[in-house]
Symmetry: C2
Subunit: 314 residues, 2 copies
């Protein structure tokens, strides 16, 4: 087993340590991507990048209808990769959509997002996790602060910080419908969390995370480092948020009438494949952390509209 550079949940006190990996993994072979130097610099400083309307309204309409189809197709399934609301049959998430042999598989290869991921991670990339999320208005649940990397490292064996999340927002994100909040600069520090990981933690943590929760002192410290800033990923439908795997983020509940839905891909460097979980426990299921038949993505030039016509002809 590899050396654990980012220990967490091993019974110790909460602790903040410096990040040991580059943020932008600059590689001349991937420097021709779509991002400008100021984008790279902003990602290094803030730990995220938001592009307004990277997908246009027609493309968003297609995505929304495909999201609805996927939801409908999965409504009667009782599998782990379909997350329903506790106590009801309402769907919240469907995982592994990048393997659906259809629209979302093509979207996951779309060069607009893949080439940006390659440029930031300095290598070819693959997807470790994907999902569509539908969060209703009025009763959208809070998601407490967390670093994805803390979980992916501890529970999935992701060795280094060389991954990022890409969220394509399909509904307008306002200040008042529970937008993702991010602590700028928090990705430069690793918050080692107290506690230990229960077996099969993922079965409850997808609904409400109870382990891998940063302590209040660490959170206050991170916000102080950011001079008190807490950023919100607001923007119109079609916007795309890239955020670094270790950026501390969370969201308040949503009592507004406005639902929120998004498509979510986690791109990992092909040089950062998952190993054994550093918790020493069994790996999480494939739908949460892809390990099998890992191949780098070949970016897809197809325009989404064209693909949509192909779907309709099937």
């Amino acid at each position: 087993m590899a050396v654990d550079q980012y220990p967490s949940r091993n019974g110790q006190q909460a602790q903040i340590m410096e990040r040991k990996d580059p943020i932008v993994h600059r590689n001349p072979a991937f420097s021709e991507g779509p991002l400008r130097e100021k984008d790279l610099h902003s990602f290094e400083e803030n730990g995220y990048l938001m592009f307004e309307k990277l997908f246009n309204d027609d493309e968003v309409s297609i995505m929304k209808s495909e999201l609805q189809r996927t939801m409908d197709r999965n409504r009667e399934r009782e599998e782990n990769d379909v997350i329903k609301e506790p106590g009801s049959n309402e769907m919240r998430s469907v995982f592994e959509i990048h393997k659906d042999s259809g629209f979302f598989q093509a979207l996951a290869k779309n060069e607009r997002i893949v080439k940006a991921a390659e440029q930031l991670l300095g290598s070819q990339v693959y997807i470790t996790q994907s999902r569509i999320n539908f969060k209703p208005g009025f009763k959208g649940k809070e998601f407490y602060w967390h670093s994805d990397f803390e979980t992916w490292h501890t529970e999935d064996g992701m060795p280094n910080m060389r991954a990022l999340s890409c969220s394509i927002v399909l509904t307008d994100n306002y200040e008042y419908n529970g937008p993702l909040m991010l602590i700028p600069g928090s990705h430069k520090w690793y918050v080692s969390c107290p506690g230990a990981t229960p077996e099969a933690n993922y079965k409850s943590s997808l609904k409400k995370q109870e382990t891998g929760i940063p302590d209040n002192d660490s959170m206050s410290w991170l916000v102080d480092q950011a001079n008190g800033r807490i950023d919100r990923a607001t923007g119109p439908a079609g916007s795309v948020l890239f955020f670094e795997c270790n950026t501390m983020h969370g969201s308040a509940g949503n009592i507004s009438p406005y639902p929120r839905s998004n498509v979510f891909f986690v791109f990992n460097s092909i040089e950062n494949k998952l190993q054994q979980p550093f918790s020493g426990q069994s790996p999480r299921p494939e739908f949460l952390a892809n390990r099998e038949n890992i191949q780098p993505i070949q970016p897809n030039k197809d325009r989404l509209q064209n693909f949509s016509h192909r779907i309709k002809r099937q």
Copy 2:
């Protein structure tokens, strides 16, 4: 018993009806107040008014230290008017602070706020309810949408819409620490709520409201009427929010490190005294709805700094 102009929770379906009372109760005898015509107009249109830093930083410091003293003095009390967090001894609210014979009694009479209340309500005013609130960071609870008047009418017997809340914010309110959200214009409509009122409802409703909750269709309709707007009462410490008794408001949880505290007075017109609750049930306790020895407030010219010195000399 008076005719119930605003029936609610009497087993019927949710229903939206027009407001039957004026919003600004214009009365020449009280037209010399501090508010300008454009303030009155804005209150009529939006159902609230926010004044940035109506109290200065020194005054806010005094208020915060008085809040702390009041909290400390009440920490060991186990009375209904002291609201603690479920499962812990952490204090959230202390009620009836306008009867404390000290700082908050004087603040409740401060002419900066009382004369504005008189001008809006077109009469002398008294306080039906007051409290200080302390909401911690990281775990501030959500408060779902509600109209205060719906509760005050049904549970307290407030006959007409001729009251307002005055919230003096003692901490900066940001977009990301769970600010009060208001639906502009919602005060022009009355949402009659389904269900019925349980006996002694207040014992649980102060922690989490379960009755008098507007239905989703009515909420969506109100937001549509506002052209989709949901306003947030953000602003620096010392700001004062006046909001009409029937303005639909709520707040998301607060996962930020920033706590929130405020002083809260409900001013009612002396011509709108509480009657028997329209639910037909027993009135709520005095600390939630003052009925005894009601006298109009005589506005107090004292500067708060002066008063603070008096307190220190006691």
